[in-house]
Amino acid sequence: MATEAAPMDEKAKRMRDLLSSFYAPDPSISTSNSSINASFDNINSTSFDADQYMDLMIKKSNLEVLLQRHVQMAAEIKNLDTDLQMLVYENYNKFISATDTIKRMKSNIFGMEGNMDQLLQKIMSVQSRSDGVNTSLFEKREHIEKLHRTRNLLRKVQFIYDLPARLQKCIKSEAYGDAVRFYTGAMPILKVYGDTSFQDCRRASEETIEIIIKNLQTKLFSDSESIQARAEAAVLLKQLDVPVDSLKAKLLEKLEQSLDGLQIKPEEASKLVEHDDSSNDTESNDQHPAKIHEDAVRGFSEAMRAYREIFPDSEERLFKLARALTAMHFENMELYIRKRVSAADFLGIFRIIWEDVVLMDEVLPEAALSDLSAEAAQVTLKQFVARTFSHLQQDISDTLLKFDINQKEAVEGEVLKVILEASQKAVLQGTTNIFQDFRQLLDENAGIFIKMRDLISGWIQKGFQDFFRSLEAQFLVLSGKTSSSNDIEGKSSDKIHAGLILVLAQLSVFIEQKVIPRVTEEIAASFSGGNSQAFDNGPAFIPGELCRVFHAASEKLLQHYIDTRTQKVSVLLRKRFKTPNWVKHKEPREVHMYVDMFLHELEEVGKEVKQVLPQGTFRKHKRTDSNGSNTTTSSRSNTLHSDKMTRSNSQRARSQLFETHLAKLFKQKVEIFTKVEFTQESVVTTTVKLCLKSLQEYVRLQTFNRSGFQQIQLDIQFLKAPLKETVEDEAAIDFLLDEVIVAASERCLDVIPLEPPILDKLIQAKLAKSKEHNNNTVSS
């Protein structure tokens, strides 16, 4: 360490030593640890023991080292000494300079007081001088100030005098804002001195202001001005204390009047829509009405916006106006759809209205226009749906009644077929169209429609239900089956052609089998839902019920057709049996006329039926399915009867009667009245059956002599062949024909049937005659 310490800076080394002595935790330990080091280190410590150090040195070191050490120490001591000397010197120097400074300060403070006094004196004199100046200038200043005031006043007066001219100038440059500002600025003066000094001036300016007011008013009223300008005009007018309320009232009135122009008149509505469609592709020069309308409504809403800004207190009135316009729109719409309108047109108008509403709603959101219009739209839409259905119904009945069936030549042509086909088409096409229309309604995306979609489907379902129900009712009324309370219709019901009833019957079948399933499908496909809450009583459209209704209706109508047809025959027969005195009847010479008429009627039935009804499965020789067991026996009885009839006339009537009774005993009741089916054969057969039954009943009410009976026998015999030709259930016809003869024989006082040869002869004669007649008509 000592060797190293030599190059070290003296001071640094000392410092380090001091630091280490200071930081050493225990000097004793350090000394014990390294006695040599400690001895070196401890040279500066307080507990440094010079003697001990000396001893240690001597003991440890040789002389050379000690000498060296001595030299070193002597040098160190010398160094320390000079250091100390230097320190003392420097401090002393500083002390001396300090005393010098204090000495100089002491000398400077003297003489300051005198200067201060001088300063005070000078300031005093300055003040007195300035006072002097002040007083000398005061008068002048007063004067200047007065002059200045006068000048201001004069300027004001000048302004007022200039006011009219200035206002004029403003009018010229249309700077009404400035004019009003000038005028209101001058107002207080004019108010005070207006009656005296500035009379003329006031009058002139008031006149100009009048003009300004007028101008402002015109500006306010003129639609060509920008809204801002008009609003400004209104503000200015207000500033001029012009009664704005009356103006407002006037304006609003004007707005109200303009509503008329905005109406979508029912007559023009279609035009609106037409152009709406075509406008896109053809840019026509003349503006199409839809655009005009839109602009008008835009203008209207703009005006409303303006008025709202101009007259914030007029909101209520504007609301009312907007509502009125909306309501008017929908009223007109209702008028419009009173005529026949397609859904597209309807939607077109609807869209326009909706746009209008949206436009107005933007301006007046508080007016709740969309709610209002949604309500109105619901009503209108509902009406539209209802109307569409009633139109369809009208269409169908029109189609049905379009053809004059009563025309003779028409019967020749297949009118009934035409009617049936036309009406079937009408029903199908009509329902298809309705679906298309309604699908459009559903697809429509205008705001209200989306909300109402459920409702619409509900209405449509309900509409169909009601439509079919009322259609059925109408069919019945048309057929004259249900007499309507209306007297006029009641009268016309007499003239209802039987063929029409048949057509109605077949149409009912068609609706039941084709239309209703289709409608059901369509509804399921596109209009399901909607009956969730609207209808508590389950779905509104119940195809099952409708099918039942139409099934019943078709049967009823078919029955009615047969009834009307048989009724005709019945009248014929009634006349036939009422007129002659059967008890005194003459011998039969020929087949009676009524047979021809009867056959003619049947022929007509056959014709009508052929046009309308489908052909049944051919089963002329089969039994009617409903009573298979009966026909066997009845056919047995037939053979009995025909045997009887062909037997020689030597047979006594009495035994014949016995035989018929016997036959009756064996055979079971023949079910004559089977259910009518929708086939040509079935209807004809039923008609024939009913007529023959009527014939039998009429016979039973009479009493015949021999000739009368023979006449009946002849007639019936003649009927046999043609009837069998036309009718599917031969057995039943045979049975009925025999029944007539039996009834006649029972009611005959003297039963002797005609002999077959005579019968044959008479029938042949009749046939020949009718053939000849036919030929004649053909040749002529």
Partner: protein, 351 residues
């Protein structure tokens, strides 16, 4: 409907058209019926329903000189009845009395109380004063209406008044209004006509074609039921007789006769030439208010008015009569001479 064979049958020897309830018989439910045979000897049968209601007993059998087209029992004397008969060429009407002690006699003869000889023409029916002891009768032929006064003790009948309906109408039958004894309805070819007996003048008519049977509703004033050839049954309110109050489908073929139940309002029986008897219930509500048409109509369509159809007949049914003693019992007579007594009791709860 089911062709109930629950009825009690009774066979006449010959064909027959008419049967009548013996209203004056308060001890038994009995019916009178007469045969219609041109050549055989005709008979009048007095039938009695046994007390158990299970048998139909022939209480008396009397020969009648001619075939019987109409028969009506006197409402106040069970032994008296009227018939309309035909000899084949001409028609006649007479009042008969069943002899006392007929049970002991072998072949009792009917006593002829009176002949309505003054009435010539094709007589259709004889009507008795609807209720109570009154000796008035009405006979109707195709054109004329005769009002008779009957004196049983003197055994004579006098014409009180008469009126002609005119040639074209060809009357076919009639009914005496139980509510208004001065009113009589007669059915014609094209209309139902009404006479006031005090003046013996036609007062009004319902234009309706081919009416065959007519009956007043005994429980309800102004209500009339008609049966027509083709168009079924109609219920009319005589106060507004333009349009029928109700329409019932009737029968497959003609509806021949129609009878209102004497006790149960709205219960209507009809007989038809389709060999069936139908029991209807014409709901009272729809006959009351006609104004509310559509809803009534719809309810009417829903409720089937046909309660039952009795089809166990071999031939057309012309004769029909309710029992006034047991109003749930009716007698029907088909042309082949079969009387069938049926009870409608099973259907009463439905009304």
């Amino acid at each position: 409907m089911q062709g109930g064979s629950s009825g009690i049958g009774y066979g006449l020897k010959y064909q027959a058209r008419c049967i009548s309830d013996v209203k004056a018989d308060t001890d038994y439910t009995s019916f009178l019926t007469g045969t219609l045979s041109l050549k055989e000897e005709n008979e009048v049968h007095l039938l009695r329903l046994s007390s158990g209601g299970s048998e139909l007993i022939c209480e008396g059998l009397f020969s009648h000189p001619n075939e019987i087209w109409d028969l009506a029992s006197c409402p106040f004397d069970q032994r008296i009845f009227s018939t309309v008969f035909s000899t084949g060429e001409s028609f006649g009407a007479a009042i008969w009395q069943i002899p006392e002690l007929y049970g002991q006699l072998n072949s009792p003869q009917l006593e002829r109380v009176a002949s309505l000889d003054a009435h010539v023409g094709k007589i259709n029916c004889v009507l008795w004063w609807p209720s109570g002891r009154c000796d008035k009768l009405i006979s109707i032929d195709e054109q004329n209406l005769f009002l008779w006064s009957l004196d049983c003790s003197k055994k004579s009948a006098e014409v009180l008044s008469k009126d002609s309906a005119g040639m074209l109408h060809s009357l076919s039958g009639g009914a005496w209004d139980p509510h208004d004894v001065n009113a009589v309805a007669a059915t014609g070819e094209s209309s139902v006509q009404f006479w006031d007996l005090r003046t013996m003048k036609k007062v009004k008519s319902i234009e309706h074609a081919h009416v065959r049977g007519v009956d007043y509703n005994p429980k309800r004033e102004h209500i009339l039921v008609t049966a027509e050839d083709e168009s079924g049954i109609h219920v009319w309110d005589l106060r507004k007789a333009k349009v029928p109050v109700q329409e019932l489908p009737g029968h497959t073929h003609w509806t021949w006769a129609v009878k209102c139940n004497p006790e149960y309002d709205g219960l209507i029986l009809s007989a038809g030439t389709d060999s069936a008897v139908n029991l209807w219930f014409a709901s009272a509500s729809s006959s009351d208010d006609k104004t509310s048409e559509s809803p009534v109509e719809s309810t009417r369509q829903r409720v089937n008015p046909l309660l039952n159809s009795y089809t166990d007949y071999e031939d057309s049914v012309y004769g029909l009569a309710w029992s006034s003693r047991e109003p749930w019992v009716f007698a029907s007579l088909s042309y082949d001479g079969r009387v069938v007594i049926e009870s409608v009791k099973p259907f009463l709860p439905r009304i």
